[in-house]
Symmetry: C2
Subunit: 102 residues, 2 copies
DNA sequence: GACAGTGCTACAGAAATTGTAGTAACGGAG
DNA sequence: CTCCGTTACTACAATTTCTGTAGCACTGTC
């Protein structure tokens, strides 16, 4: 089986990004790191996923330079990761409005 | 089909939203509908997913009142869906910057 | 040495997704 | 009416992904 690039085969950055963020737990992990660094197990407990997939997603996020492992404090967002998070922060407020609408 | 709540068991709106958006193809579908309505097959061809999953995601998005089926024109974002999209639009520009950084 | 914490991995079973094929309803052409 | 193309959508087996549990190797503390 040929290794495929998930999501877009075009390689356009927006498609690559949407594909990365559209994997289970990815958005959630970024969200959990929004305020402070987290240890591997801490993160795993917080989101309730298996260590296998947490590790896989962390590896992808690290490769994408959105997350890094700080030996002292744990996993944390990089500068790029924080930029991305800032784009997502309005979601929090909006989600409350959305919840009322549905 | 049994209705399950994926992701967060808390029911907090932001978690429910992150869970919905963190399913494969969901973000991509919203993105494809950003400019104009799309027919089912058109959408399927554009993203390259199976009809099964396209239909499943559309059903979820319709239930979440983010997408609706306009018999005349095809699937389109609702007012809520357009609000959500507006939050995501900066991603397009940011993704270009991100692509250069990695 | 015993113990707890760290990141991380193995692996079998369960769940989600794919790929292919097909259904049913509708409209227009012949 | 029959045939054809279009629509949304479904069935189902094969494949891929994720889960749940257990454990490893390493570091530091007592």
């Amino acid at each position: 089986m040929v290794k495929r690039v998930r999501g877009s085969r075009t390689g356009r950055p927006i498609m690559v990004l949407l594909d990365l963020l559209g994997r289970r737990w990815t958005l959630r992990i970024v969200w959990e790191l929004r305020e402070e660094p987290r240890r591997f197990r801490e993160l795993q407990d917080a989101i309730g996923a298996s260590p296998t997939i947490v590790n896989t997603r962390l590896a992808e996020l690290r490769e994408a330079k959105l997350v890094r492992l700080d030996e002292e404090a744990g996993y944390r967002l990089t500068a790029l990761g924080e930029e991305l998070l800032r784009l997502f922060l309005p979601l929090h407020v909006w989600s409350e409005k959305w919840a009322k609408a549905i």
